[in-house]
């Protein structure tokens, strides 16, 4: 709505109360003699002449000012100046119009009845700035604008920004997952339909998915990259994180899963991330890491070891992977393994013993004379402790460790 000047419809009189017939109102840009328009209608479609002339009774017609600052000059019909007011600030009420008002001037604001938004003319009077819906505080970005991330004229609200992190509505499993328009970064995936891709999004967008049921994720080396390059069958409770691989400010449908954790806390795929038993046994990979549960499979790791004494009675001090120790006689012991070796004789052992009794030097732990199957069976190994004179003897400290494949 334009601003109706308060002198409209009023009669200008002199000191004796006599009206100034046909007096004139000149309007200029403040501080200048440049004319500044006024209008006879609220829609600012009909410009007044400048000066605006009152009727013969001295009554001024309707004068609508533009919002802004004027210089007003009051003159008699004979162009004798009565009064000059400079500056004069017109009211700043908002113009209501179905389209941008014209002429426009810097900082003019209007309410557009067509789109329900407020607009303000920029300082250079060259364009309108969208101030957003009239009932809002400003030009808030929509969720879509936040997710697109390209708009520079609207600001994020706590609600729209939450679209970047908050839990979104559940997504029904589908060949191509459709991300909700309402935004969100954490979603439950319902249903059991095989998923082969995710819908378009801006590059860099990250989403976290929690699978409610068992379904298949089909690896695609371009558009749906899964850890280890292998498809995954989910179990309820599994979680996955995906990142969109489109370029900056671009959108695309190429997604990479950079983390997949099973419901029971394992990181998948264990085959790619952590060494398998076979990889540990081969011992050549430099791209997988060793977990505590697998390190013992490497050839360099002892598969079993034992520390015992047999001076007065047989006592096991410490052991690993030994179920029992059998005292067969002086200097003769059978070690029974909890986990058997893969083959009889397919392993090696090494040990030593402290000098004791008549033995003045440390003893040698060796296999007992006999058949190989007995000496180094898969489940046990029969060993002897001999002194320097090759005599069997009991010692208060003997150790042995075993290496091989289990």
């Amino acid at each position: 709505m334009a601003n109706l000047w308060e002198g409209s419809g009023q009669v200008l009189v002199d000191g004796t109360g006599t009206p100034y017939a046909s007096w004139k109102l000149y309007t200029f840009e403040t501080g200048t003699t440049s004319n500044k328009a006024t209008y006879s209608d609220a829609g600012l479609s009909s410009a007044n002449s400048n000066p605006v002339v009152a009727d013969s009774n001295g009554r001024m017609g309707d004068v609508y000012f533009l919002a802004g600052r004027y210089k007003l000059v009051f003159k008699t019909s004979a162009d004798v100046t009565i009064k000059t007011i400079d500056p004069y600030d017109s009211n700043v009420e908002m113009v209501t119009a179905s389209a941008a008002p014209s002429p426009a001037y810097p900082f003019l604001e209007y309410y557009n009845t067509t789109d329900g938004k407020r607009y303000r003319r920029n300082a250079a009077n060259s364009a309108w700035i969208d101030l957003g819906l009239v009932d809002s505080l400003g030009n808030a970005a929509t969720v879509a604008q936040i997710l697109a991330g390209t708009d520079t004229s609207s600001f994020g609200t706590s609600d729209s920004i939450a679209a970047l992190w908050q839990r979104g509505t559940d997504i029904a499993s589908a060949t191509t997952l459709s991300l909700p328009s309402g935004g969100g970064s954490v979603f439950n995936i319902t249903g059991t339909t095989t998923i082969t891709g995710i819908g378009s999004a801006v590059g860099g967008r990250t989403i976290k998915l929690k699978f409610v049921g068992a379904l298949s994720l089909t690896h695609n080396s371009t558009s749906f990259i899964l850890p280890g390059g292998a498809s995954i069958t989910t179990v309820a409770g599994d979680c996955a994180e995906f990142i969109n691989e489109a370029a900056t400010d671009a959108t695309g449908s190429n997604w990479r899963c950079f983390n997949f954790e099973t419901g029971d806390g394992r990181i998948l795929p264990s085959a790619a991330a952590s060494a398998t038993q076979a990889q540990q046994e081969t011992g050549t990979s430099t791209s997988v890491f060793v977990t505590p549960g697998r390190q013992q499979f490497h050839n360099s790791a002892a598969k079993s070891w034992l520390n015992w004494n047999t001076v007065t009675s047989t006592t096991i001090t410490t052991s690993y992977n030994v179920s029992s120790l059998t005292d067969t006689g002086v200097g003769i012991t059978t070690v029974n393994f909890t986990t058997s070796f893969s083959t009889a004789g397919g392993y090696v052992f090494h040990g030593g013993a402290k000098a004791d009794g008549a033995e003045t030097t440390g003893g040698i732990v060796n296999m007992r004379d006999g058949t190989p199957a007995t000496q180094m069976a898969a489940a046990s190994c029969e060993i002897t402790v001999r002194g320097g004179g090759s005599t069997l003897y009991d010692t208060d400290l003997a150790t042995v460790c075993f290496f091989g494949d289990q």
């Binding site: 001076v311 120790l325 059998t326 005292d327 986990t339 003045t360 898969a378």
Partner: protein, 183 residues
């Protein structure tokens, strides 16, 4: 401390001492949790290849894999798995009941099992062997000791006679030279 005593097929006596760990494992299981599929079966086969009876191998493997054993059951399973094939007359004993190890290789039991005795005929050569070892060790010490005495001479005939005539293990063990330190 408890152990499993048994008589070997060659007539000798063995004593099996289970580790503390194995009881824990057989009670709680899970020892092979991270092993590949089929590992339990492979373990059973490997034990069988070592001469362990299939049932004993299976029972032990299942206990290690899945647990659930009481201590008594664990003793029984270890006896079957680690001792059964090596002898007979298996018995759970307190190791304090065993004789001193001086004549360890002469330990024997009756045909029906029972406590460990010392076989005198096997013990006699052991005593002679220990005397020889002790003399040899002592003479070596005296040879290199600045103030060491002259070498000890083993009165072979006298000793042989004493050993031959010894009536029990205690008497046999007492046959020693006064100047000779005990081993």
């Amino acid at each position: 401390m408890k152990a499993i005593l048994y008589t070997r097929h060659d007539g000798g006596v063995s004593v099996c001492h289970p580790t503390r760990d194995v009881f824990n494992i057989m009670q709680h299981g899970g020892y092979w949790n991270d092993r590949p599929h089929g590992f339990v079966s492979a373990q059973i086969e490997r034990q069988i290849s070592s001469g362990i009876a299939p049932d004993h191998a299976r029972r032990f493997a299942h206990a290690v894999a899945f647990g659930g054993c009481s201590e008594a059951e664990a003793w029984e399973i270890i006896r079957d798995r680690d001792c059964a094939r090596h002898g007979t007359q298996h018995e759970l004993i307190d190791t304090g009941e065993l004789p001193p190890r001086w004549f360890r290789d002469a330990w024997s039991r009756s045909a029906n099992g029972g406590p460990v005795n010392i076989n005198l005929e096997k013990a006699k050569p052991i005593q002679w062997s220990r005397l020889v070892q002790a003399v040899s060790q002592e003479n070596k010490r005296r040879e290199f000791d600045l103030f060491g005495g002259p070498p000890i001479k083993l009165p072979k005939l006298t000793i042989q006679s004493a050993i031959r005539n010894a009536r029990d293990a205690e008497e046999l063990e007492r046959i020693w030279l006064p100047e000779l330190p005990r081993l």
